[in-house]
Symmetry: none
Subunit: 214 residues, 4 copies
């Protein structure tokens, strides 16, 4: 949402007078996105080993040289891809928290689980690949963890009376964040065939609610 605000303000400034240098920035973003999308496409259709810088350039419709204007090396491309995903999830979580301020923690968690599971169900193959085959420093995952815990800390704090008073916000947000994240992943990507998504989701919710009420 922070992003959204920035963009809108750009919009406003752009229509007045002293605009400058924005084209490059927009161009940059577009190229970066094109590159990351190309990586995704190749990843899904041809596998990790087919993701060579030259192939990415072709699929992205840019020249190899241009890729190196935006990424210092190949590894950085993968990092950016992970970051983009982590960012999207972070924003999803935060916007859900915001959208549920006036609802109970239970309702919030339900929506969170739904949102995350849906997000990952869209392209299970891709997310599985991202996690297993595409190398990535631990950094982006940790940043996401931090964001999740931050969101939960907020959600908990603003619901003081709903919960037992001697609850430790730090511990609680830690556990909540990891429960929600891993159960979402599991429900979307690692479900045993005998379990429907709906069943997995409702059971996950039961677990989180039980914890919140404990």
């Amino acid at each position: 949402m922070l992003r959204k605000l920035q963009i809108s303000s750009d919009w406003i400034q752009a229509s007045v007078p002293p605009q400058r240098r924005k084209p490059q920035q927009r161009r940059s973003r577009e190229t970066v996105e094109a590159v990351l999308d190309a990586v995704v496409r190749i990843l899904k259709k041809e596998g990790v080993d087919a993701v060579t810088t030259n192939r990415v350039a072709v699929v992205a419709g840019v020249s190899v040289g241009s890729i190196y204007q935006y990424f210092p090396d190949k590894r950085a491309i993968f990092s950016a891809l992970h970051d983009r995903h982590a960012d999207a999830m972070g924003r999803l979580v935060e916007s859900t928290v915001v959208a549920n301020v006036s609802r109970t923690l239970g309702e919030l968690v339900g929506n969170l689980l739904s949102g995350l599971i849906d997000a990952h169900s869209g392209d299970q193959q891709l997310y599985a690949l991202l996690m297993t085959e595409v190398p990535h420093g631990a950094a982006s995952a940790q940043r996401l963890d931090a964001r999740l815990q931050g969101a939960f800390r907020l959600a908990i704090s603003s619901r003081g009376r709903e919960l037992s008073r001697d609850l430790d916000v730090e511990r609680c947000s830690f556990v909540l964040a990891h429960m929600v994240e891993s159960l979402s992943h599991a429900a979307a990507l690692n479900r045993p065939p005998s379990l429907s998504v709906a069943a997995a989701k409702s059971e996950a919710l039961r677990a989180v609610l039980a914890y919140l009420r404990s």
Copy 2:
């Protein structure tokens, strides 16, 4: 030429008595272990990019050629490494389940969490690398998931009366397995600096117990 002599004597022994082929199998295991240990050592000291088959061979004290006797290609080495870890965790879980047959589910879960957290705390750097930088098909993780769920299914089934009767074993073991696994990982590897291992562990236990009692 030393080599040649060894080979010939093997030849001779092989064609004589009852015992058979065990030496080779032991040799095999030893070589495989040596290779995997070498990978771990290089991984920690020099990073993923230094893990080349030739370097592995040197560090493991075998020839590159020998590596290809036991692994079809490089990727298989990484898979074996992941499998070895998954296997160790699987055995840890199963032995804990067995060792706690006469204890309550709560006690079992507590010991499970302790065991897993300790196992990962021993070499956090390594496990972080394994998960982020060392490529691995989803297979071994899924096999581990299945084993965990199997263990939990067993543990739950044999404790029917302790739990509410209308509990769905399938759903329950799914959630338990993922909660225990992810909270252990988180406690050992992704804990926020403000949280001690002990605190993380106890909170994780609280969460699992709350779920079990719900």
Copy 3:
């Protein structure tokens, strides 16, 4: 062909009115000098491999495109650099010859050696690099040779009586030119540590004088 056109038009204009078009030409020379100086600067501070056209452009304060206005390709930049140096040396030699018309050949040679040694002593590192690492067709060195021999031919011819009459001007200027050039280089750049510049210079002079008197 662009080049050719430019040259021809310069030719024509040059022979028609009194002054014209000088600003551009001055601009040109300035840019060319800026480029060559940039190359020298990079060469000394960062080594030959750092001399890329883009870097040269930045250091010279012009755009890459502009460089290509004055040089057909990268190699031409290096050639121009060598030519500039050869030209400076040629001019130094010729002006010394002129300045010593009324002196003996011995005095002339002494001043020649001094001048050349001093010229190269100023930036030994640079001249060493120019000769070893910066590629250059043999052309500019040969042009310089020719100029040196020409200067010596002149100097000898105008001093007929000072020398033995059956001296072969052609042979003599050939040997003189190469002796003076190589001994100057050696004295300035390849002197053994045990030899002072002064000693090297005086010994070089002795050698040339001995030859002249033979």
Copy 4:
């Protein structure tokens, strides 16, 4: 097949004294020579720019990988080429000095000039390229200078009475070395068209003799 022969002889030798490890070393030298010869061939037929590591490998009849077993990088190949030439010249000079121990200094110098001029006349194009287009640190040239001066120091010292007694060996060998080297080069490679090799050589000799007698 050459290999086979070598091996057999090693075999024989191996059973006699302690000698070892020669096969590798001979093989090494052969490969190194093949690579350097390939560079020379490409240099002459196709120019410096055609000297790529892959092309060298093909022409040398080895794999690129093998080149990197003997040379750390491309630049090292060029250095080795220069070193090989410098070494050959050094040996030529030294053997000439040895072969002329009982002759006068004048005769020695004459033979030295002849030898060096002939050596460079054999492949003028190549030597011109080596000096102008093939990058090379100053090191090998300096090593050669040192060797030449050493040879001259020796030659002078052992001819004390032939020369004026107050002669400074250090200065003298410095000048001699550079005179002989540069005049040989000039006679072989940079002679003006109006001068025959013989004329250039005789004039060079005159100059050196004049210096020696001064």
